[in-house]
Structure formats: structure tokens, C-alpha cells
């Protein structure tokens, strides 16, 4: 995209990549960083919005709490089908999401973002870890069954085309989940049409169409409608807007914001696009090679990043501001192989601050002190770690 006149007239922001005249562009509402501390923003929990009867623990109880989530995929091909090694796709992920919050997950390709999403949905079985949904442990004896979890948690995939059955009409695709859950067919169809209206597609015009007759943005709206038809409380958006072009992406993002407010939803927003995550999220989790390295509010992550990887990611964003442009890439090379990740800190092979202590011990995701409250997994930022840059 060239430097157009309107963009040149305006002071560029890191989030400025599209045509600012585009009315759908969310960034046109001002630099997202101007929104200030997210705590000053309207808290969805304070609103007198719709109260969900399924709410158990009240607003203080996290909607989803994950501890020690782990998935290692076996590498097939050994003698007698024994695995030759393990791909450590997700290795110890912990986080909690408050009700009404949006948690962004960012990281390079292959860092385990999508695997984490599929683990949460139990589309693939976790090797270890605990998933607690609104106070109920998933899969435990007295807890929530996977089937009940899936009713309350839905997912929108990246590929809008592959995630719709080419042989079903839009209406049937949306109604399928409800029909499978035992809803009578006419009722499920009615609901599908309601959902189409909710995502901004005229039911009369789209219900009987097939996926190939729709544009990418329309298909993604259908996918959102299908997820919402199950009346979830938590929606996982796995790179859901990444494949759309910029103006359509902006429309879908605004739709998502709108739906979140209207339906009192909680989002997990997975993306490799840092600007979009900044726009959408309340808090952000940064992942590297299957492990979380930093978690904090949008302001903390984007303005006061503490992990060297987060710093590198942020400075890798393209900028129209000549003073902010860089000619040297902040990160070089590919991430190490997750089959044999580096010992100690997994980032140390590409880290500018790496020291012997980083190879020896694995840094834990921990808050450093009272004055720097957001947790980071880096020896250089943790007092007493033995790293020369860390406080003693």
C-alpha cells in the first residue's frame, strides 16, 4: 500500500496502515493508545447489561482459568509405531479471563496459539493441565462435561471457506449445531435466520445461499453467526480476521465489538497482527515456542514491554513514521525447533540479553515486584535471578 496523501497529511501512528478515509477503519476513531488506561474504560461488568442466568460465581470469578495446559504431539515413524520425539506445541500455559474481558494472544507462527485454542475447546485432548470454566473444572468428576463446555464456548476459525460445508446452505450450516443438540428443525432454522440478521446479513437474501456464493467477509460473518447460534459465553477467535482484506477486516472487528457489548460475551482473540490485538484486547498474552512469556494489560504490553521478545515483536511492526522506521530486523532467523527446544529460556538463542544463566534455568512467568506488577518470564527482569541486568 503506497503512502497516500491523506496518510501523509496526518501524523502517522503505528496502527496506521490503511486508508484513513475508509469509514470502516476502527483506527480512524483515533489512536488506540489514546484510550489511556484500560481500567478507565467502560467496564462491561459494571454495565447494567443482560445478566446471564448461567453465571455462577459472579463478576469476580474468572470465566475461564487455565493452569499448566500442555500438549506434546508425538512424532510418528519409530519402530513399532513408537514416537521418535515430541513436538512441544504447548508447554505449560496459565492464564485467567475475567467475565466480559477480551484476552489477546500474540506470537509468531508456530508458537502454539492455535493449539492453545483447540485445547481449550477440547478439539484435541490436552496432555496435562486444568481448565476451569466459571468455577467448574472441565472433564472432572463433578465438573463440566466437554459437551456442556462446548455449548458455552465456541470458536471462529481462520479459513472462512474451509470452515463452511460446501454442500450445505448458510441456514443449514448455522442451524446444524442446534439441531444436533436436539432443537426442532423449524426452530433451529428460525434461530439461524435471527443470527444472520445479528451479524448484518439479510436472512431473506443469504439463508438459502451456498458458501461459494459469498465473499470472504460475508462467510466470516456466517461463521460468527454459527458460533453465536450456540449461545456461547466465551468466543475464541482464532486468527478470524487475518485472511480478510483491511477494510473488510475493520468491519468484522467492529461487528465483533458490537456483538460483545450486546450479548455480554467474553473473547479470546488470537492473532499475529499486533495492531488488531491492541485494538480489540483488554489484556494481552505473549507466547513464544509454546510458552507464555509475558502477560499484562494492553497499556502495559504495548507501552512498557518487559520481555525482550515482546520488545522485538513491537519494534517489528511496520511504520509510516520515518523516525520510527528501522532497517535492521529486530529478530532474525526462525524460532528454534519445538522438537528440541533450547534449554533454560527458550528465547535465549535469539535474545540480545542472553547470558549463561539463561541456558541453565528456565525463567518462570512471575511478577517482579510491587512497582512492576505485570508478569514476565525473563531472568533479566527478575531480581535475584543471577542475570547481570537484573536487580540483586
Amino acid at each position: 500500500m503506497g503512502l497516500d496523501t491523506a496518510a501523509a497529511r496526518r501524523p502517522a501512528t503505528p496502527g496506521d496502515r490503511g486508508d484513513p478515509r475508509d469509514r470502516g477503519d476502527p483506527r480512524d476513531r483515533g489512536d488506540p493508545r489514546d484510550r489511556g488506561d484500560p481500567r478507565d474504560r467502560e467496564d462491561p461488568r459494571d454495565r447494567g447489561g443482560p445478566q446471564d442466568p448461567r453465571d455462577r460465581g459472579g463478576p469476580a470469578q474468572p470465566l475461564l482459568a487455565v493452569t499448566g495446559l500442555r500438549k506434546h504431539f508425538p512424532l510418528a515413524g519409530g519402530l513399532l509405531g513408537r514416537p521418535q520425539g515430541w513436538v512441544q506445541a504447548v508447554d505449560g500455559v496459565d492464564f485467567a479471563i475475567a467475565k466480559g474481558e477480551t484476552l489477546g494472544i500474540v506470537g509468531e507462527s508456530g508458537c502454539g496459539k492455535s493449539t492453545t485454542a483447540r485445547l481449550l475447546m477440547h478439539l484435541i485432548a490436552p496432555d496435562a493441565g486444568q481448565v476451569v470454566f466459571d468455577g467448574e473444572e472441565v472433564g472432572a468428576m463433578r465438573g463440566l462435561s466437554v459437551r456442556d463446555l462446548r455449548r458455552q464456548m465456541q470458536m471462529v476459525f481462520q479459513d472462512s471457506h474451509a470452515s463452511l460445508n460446501p454442500r450445505l446452505t448458510i441456514e443449514d450450516s448455522i442451524a446444524f449445531g442446534r439441531k444436533a443438540a436436539g432443537m426442532p428443525v423449524p426452530e433451529a432454522r428460525d434461530r439461524a435466520r435471527t443470527m444472520l440478521g445479528l451479524v448484518g446479513l439479510t436472512p431473506g437474501q443469504f439463508a438459502q445461499r451456498y458458501p461459494h456464493e459469498l465473499s470472504g467477509g460475508q462467510r466470516q460473518r456466517v461463521n460468527i453467526a454459527r458460533a453465536l447460534a450456540m449461545e456461547p459465553r466465551l468466543l475464541i477467535l482464532d486468527e478470524s480476521v487475518s485472511a480478510l482484506d483491511k477494510s473488510v477486516e475493520a468491519q468484522v472487528l467492529n461487528l465483533l465489538q458490537d456483538l460483545k457489548a450486546r450479548l455480554a460475551l467474553t473473547y479470546i482473540f488470537i492473532s499475529h497482527d499486533l495492531n488488531v490485538v491492541q485494538y480489540m484486547s483488554d489484556r494481552v498474552l505473549v507466547m513464544y515456542l509454546g510458552k507464555p512469556v509475558e502477560i499484562g494489560t494492553v497499556a502495559e504490553i504495548y507501552e512498557r514491554p518487559r520481555h525482550p521478545y515482546t520488545e522485538a515483536l513491537l519494534s517489528s511492526r511496520p511504520s509510516l513514521d520515518p523516525r520510527r522506521r528501522r532497517s535492521v530486523p529486530p529478530l532474525s532467523g526462525d524460532p528454534p525447533n519445538p522438537i528440541n527446544p533450547p534449554s533454560g529460556c527458550r528465547f535465549r538463542t535469539r535474545c540480545p540479553l542472553a547470558e549463561p544463566v539463561c541456558a541453565g534455568r528456565e525463567p518462570l512467568l512471575a511478577a517482579a515486584g510491587p512497582d512492576a506488577p505485570h508478569p514476565v518470564a525473563c531472568h533479566a527482569r527478575q531480581p535475584g535471578s543471577g542475570h547481570t541486568r537484573a536487580a540483586a
Binding site: 483447540r118 478439539l123 476459525f157 471457506h161 460445508n165 450445505l168 449445531g177 444436533a180 461459494h212 458460533a227
Partner: protein, 303 residues
């Protein structure tokens, strides 16, 4: 004799067509338009239609009773007697009438085993493909055992054990045709299973049965049927082969393979008569093959 290569599932048939599909109504209209422009496919369709209609209305069309023998008019050459245009067989029965009636059995032996094998093979193939893992391995290795035998040998062996007769022939041919269809069904299902829309359906909490009937079947029937249609000619040839060996249809039923066998003894006396049933078998199976190729080519649209 059937071509072994035909039984090997072609990769093209197994792969579901990628990319966007055109609107369904205009899609079938396009297919029809392409077929109408293809003279070979069109000619085959006309010949097959004639054979099928002749077989269906055999009593009205056949000039003579196919069972009535006549010792006086044995092995008349074609055209020798105007009332027997294609001559007579070794028992003096009208060859044209027997060929027309024979089409009934031969076509039936072409379709019945393929229909049965498609049902059974798809069931196993979809089950193996969707379940994956151990279930897949168990089913597919069992099917590989059948694959280890050449198809003709297997059909002969099964028919030999069970004895001649229509029912036994259909059973043995079905058993021969199940493995290739199951294999195609398995590979297509495996591809469909990894699609995001199946994951999305699983995410709604739907049962495996619901997902298979609601999402998998509709997406695998196209490739399976397109492959099964190529097996009709194989089935006709195999059935004729079994009859020829005396393991299929029993005399005096008119059936092309059986006619070929009985006329074989007269091949030096009446060579044209002896060849005619073979021509019928060849023409029918050839037309089925060319037509299913043509339809598949017409449906294989790269949009």
C-alpha cells in the same frame, strides 16, 4: 479379461475437487453442456441407451423365443435366413433374441454387485476414515488382505466354493468390488475429516453420527459414485468371465458370457456367431468406461 489397473483407485477420483464450486444449478447445466459437446461420450450414451432399452423391452423386440431350440436350423450364419438376422447358436436358438435377452442378465450382473459393493464399501470406508487410528488400521488392513489376490482369481475362488448361480455370482462379485470402493471412500473421508467445518461441527458438541450423516456423507458421495461407475464395466466382464468358466449363470439362461462359452466349440464352423456375444460384452463395458470418463471430465471443472 478385466484390467487390473481399473480396480486400483485412481488418485483423481479420490481427491475431492478443490477450490470454489460454481452455483449448483448452473454447475449441472455446465456439465450437461460439456457432455453434449463431447461426441465420444454422446455416442456411448446412445449405444448404452439402445442396449438398456432393448433389454428392458426384450419380449416386445426379440423376434423369437430365446429358449426354443431347433435341430434343423443349427449354426445358421448371419443373414443366411432373413428371419434369423444374426444367425443361430449350436442348438438352433435365434442369436439376436438371445443377445437381447442376455442383456438383461449381463446388465443386472454389472449393476447389482456395484450397487451392493458401494453400500458396503462406503460404510467401511467412511467408518475407517472418520474414526482414524486403530479402527482405520484394523479395517483397512483387513481390506488389504482381499487386495492381495487378483480380482479374477478371487471371484473364481469364491464362486468355486459357493457354486454356480445368480445369487452366488452377485455375492462373489460384491466381495471383489468392496475393497477398492472402501479404499476410495476411506481416502476421501480422511481428507474431509480434517476440514475446518468438521472441527466446527465437533465444537458444537454434535455426536460423531450426526457429523458423519450431516457433513461427511454429502461431501464424499460424489467421488465415491464417480469411482463406482467405472466398476460397472469391470463387473460385467467379471460376471461374463465366471459364466464362461461355468461358475456363474447356468444354462439355458441367455447370458453373454455363457453364450460365448457354449459357442466356443463351434468357432471353426461358425466363427462370426461365436464372436457376437463377445462383441456385446466389449461394446457395453467399453461404453460404460468411456461414458463415466466423459462425465467425470465434464464435472472436473477448475473454476
Amino acid at each position: 479379461m478385466p484390467n487390473e489397473a481399473v480396480l486400483a483407485p485412481p488418485a483423481a477420483a479420490a481427491a475431492p475437487r478443490k477450490g470454489r464450486r460454481p452455483a449448483s444449478r448452473s454447475f449441472w447445466r455446465n456439465v450437461l453442456r460439456r457432455i453434449l459437446r463431447d461426441p465420444v461420450t454422446l455416442a456411448c450414451a446412445v449405444i448404452l441407451l439402445a442396449i438398456v432399452l432393448a433389454a428392458a423391452f426384450a419380449p416386445a423386440i426379440a423376434p423369437h423365443d430365446p429358449y426354443r431350440t431347433s435341430m434343423l436350423r443349427r449354426l445358421l450364419a448371419p443373414g443366411e435366413n432373413p428371419s434369423y438376422p444374426l444367425g443361430t447358436d449350436e442348438l438352433g436358438r435365434d442369436l439376436l433374441s438371445r443377445l437381447i435377452y442376455g442383456g438383461r442378465l449381463s446388465l443386472f450382473m454389472g449393476f447389482a454387485p456395484v450397487v451392493l459393493a458401494t453400500l458396503v464399501g462406503s460404510l467401511f470406508g467412511i467408518l475407517a476414515g472418520y474414526a482414524g487410528g486403530r479402527v482405520n488400521m484394523l479395517i483397512m488392513r483387513a481390506i488389504d488382505v482381499f487386495y492381495a489376490f487378483p480380482s479374477v482369481l478371487l471371484a473364481v475362488a469364491i464362486s468355486g466354493v459357493l457354486g454356480a448361480g445368480i445369487g452366488n455370482t452377485i455375492f462373489s462379485l460384491t466381495l471383489v468390488l468392496v475393497p477398492p470402493i472402501a479404499r476410495v471412500a476411506e481416502s476421501v473421508t480422511t481428507q474431509v475429516r480434517t476440514q475446518d467445518y468438521i472441527e466446527a461441527a465437533r465444537a458444537t458438541g454434535a455426536s460423531g453420527w450426526r457429523i458423519v450423516t450431516g457433513h461427511v456423507v454429502s461431501n464424499v458421495t460424489g467421488p465415491i459414485l464417480s469411482y463406482a461407475s467405472t466398476l460397472i464395466s469391470v463387473s460385467i466382464v467379471l460376471a461374463s468371465g465366471l459364466s464362461f468358466l461355468g461358475l456363474g449363470i447356468k444354462p439355458p439362461e441367455p447370458e453373454w458370457g455363457l453364450m460365448l462359452n457354449t459357442l466356443r466349440q463351434s468357432i471353426y464352423v461358425a466363427p462370426v456367431n461365436a464372436v457376437l456375444p463377445g462383441v456385446a460384452i466389449f461394446a457395453t463395458s467399453m461404453c460404460f468406461n468411456l461414458m463415466s470418463d466423459g462425465i467425470r471430465a465434464a464435472m472436473d471443472v477448475k473454476q
